[in-house]
């Protein structure tokens, strides 16, 4: 039963990811990305990582793809971006990628069963994460806040909505 679900969600995620790459319009790609993240989140939940599954939707689908969508929508790229011809270079690179990927798959399937028996967790997944986070990984947690602070400053420096812009908008 669990295997059926796994196969279904995996195929769904792969199909959505293919949709991202193959779609003509960038907005369709963004939409496919949202769908593929759902599939990913379902897979995470199936393996017991419920916290990560929910955070995947909250942060990735709810924030990062919003960024993508903002840019893609407002820049009206249309299908100009996706017009390209298939040169020999493209074919060669894709062949190498497929070869690496199939090697990886062969290794994985030779060593692990399709669905591993799930050992039930001692406590809920979130509680385990929080216990670890504040004991062993406390320093990385604090350093992370500094990192986020640096990102905030960086994003201001990058977009820089300064007085010159505002004078244009409010004459």
């Amino acid at each position: 039963m669990k295997e059926l679900f796994f196969i279904f969600f995996s195929l769904y995620t792969i199909a959505a990811a293919l949709g991202v790459v193959l779609a003509k319009n960038p907005v369709y790609s963004a939409f496919s990305l949202i769908l593929s993240f759902f599939g990913l989140s379902a897979l995470y939940v199936m393996w017991g990582a419920t916290f990560i599954g929910m955070i995947q939707i909250l942060v990735y689908t709810g924030a990062i793809v919003v960024l993508f969508v903002f840019v893609v929508m407002l820049l009206d790229l249309g299908s100009v971006v996706t017009d390209h011809s298939h040169s020999w270079l493209t074919v060669m690179v894709s062949a190498i990628a497929v070869w690496f990927f199939s090697l990886l798959m062969l290794r994985t399937f030779n060593h692990t069963p399709l669905v591993a028996p799930a050992t039930p967790l001692a406590e809920s997944n979130t509680r385990l994460i929080s216990q670890l986070l504040f004991t062993e990984y406390l320093w990385p947690f604090e350093i992370l806040s500094i990192f986020l602070l640096a990102l905030i400053i960086a994003i201001y420096a990058l977009t820089r909505p300064d007085a010159a812009d505002k004078r244009k908008v409010h004459p």
Binding site: G62, A63, N125, T126
Partner: protein, 323 residues
């Protein structure tokens, strides 16, 4: 899962989900009649006694009217936009605890569709998906005003998601769990022997923050910039007609209902009637009480629809982050 469990699941699901769906027409009527009362005018009074059949008339009208699809829209996303708001609005219903447990053949089942361990996180993440319907719908309409309205609405919603999440975090610190059922259970009994142990008394500031953010999340006045009638025609749903328009509205009202439900669960004791402690008796009454509390909130939503003026966009976003 056995057959009995499937039957119970499906019946729970249908009852709770369809209740929320059918609350929408009631809300439409309450809004129009209530606004009319506040504004000293009759409101709908032609269709049925007190205009009670007005939502039915509206629904029929929406179904039968023509759905004009302008030439320059992106057909696929245009058609999907409204449903992209409806699906997350429906999924949120899964984690709201409606009542206490009931016993069938010795096993007790809870009146909640899905008792997820991380219920609150699930709820926050699914509600953050609501903006995609607005964004894609507004973009697909290929209309300057729709796009502008969609962008403004999206930036408003995402700005207020953070205070919403952090206020919910406050509730989590009090109850020590993400599961909504446990949170509702934790509000039994009294606090200081006088007040019921509700979240609103344990976390008043959190409640205020959550309350304000909830208004912003559902695009309700005083935060209804996406629908400002004075400024942007009709915002992101300018180009939508008949049933797709109605679906957007249905999704918005369902969002309101579910956020009210969340508010009662987090801050108003869920299904617990104040000062009573007998569990099984409350199972049934509690469900009714929950619904009443939800409706009470909705009425509050509507009143505030008529009274205050709405904010400017910048003031809005500027207020969100400190909040």
């Amino acid at each position: 899962m056995t057959g009995l469990e499937w039957i119970i699941l499906l019946s729970k699901l249908l009852v709770i989900y369809l209740t929320i769906v059918h609350v929408v027409p009631i809300m439409i009527w309450v809004e129009r009649k209530g606004a009319a009362l506040i504004q000293d005018r009759p409101g709908p009074n032609r269709v049925g006694p007190f205009g009670l059949l007005q939502p039915v008339a509206d629904a029929l009208k929406f179904l039968v009217k023509e759905d004009p699809i302008p030439n320059s829209v992106n057909r696929v996303l245009y058609a999907m936009g409204p449903f992209m708001t409806l699906v997350p609005a429906s999924l949120i219903v899964a984690v709201l605890p409606v009542g206490d447990f009931f016993e069938v053949q010795g096993k007790s089942y809870f009146m909640q569709i899905a008792d997820i361990n991380v219920g609150l996180l699930y709820l926050l993440s699914i509600s953050s998906l609501g903006i995609y319907g607005i964004l894609f719908g507004g973009w697909a309409s290929n209309n300057k005003y729709s796009l502008m309205g969609a962008m403004r609405s999206a930036s408003q919603i995402i700005s207020y998601e953070i205070p919403l999440g952090l206020a919910a975090v406050g509730a989590v610190t009090v109850y020590g769990t993400f599961s909504l059922r446990e949170m509702a259970l934790g509000q039994e009994g009294t606090f200081l022997a006088v007040l019921p142990r509700w979240g609103v008394f344990m976390q008043p500031i959190g409640f205020l923050v959550f309350f304000i953010s909830a208004f912003a999340e559902t695009n309700r006045l005083p935060f209804d910039l996406p629908e400002t009638e004075g400024e942007l025609v009709a915002g992101f749903h300018t180009e939508y007609g008949s049933m797709k328009f109605a679906t957007y509205f249905m999704a918005e009202y369902m969002n309101m209902a579910t956020i009210s439900g969340l508010m009662t669960t987090l801050y108003f004791g869920g299904w617990h009637l104040p000062y009573l402690t007998d569990a099984t008796l409350l199972g049934w009454l509690g469900g009714q009480r929950n619904l009443l509390a939800v409706l009470q909130f909705l009425i509050f939503f509507f009143q505030s629809c008529c009274l205050p003026a709405h904010f400017r966009l910048g003031a809005l976003d500027g207020a969100a982050f400190p909040l």
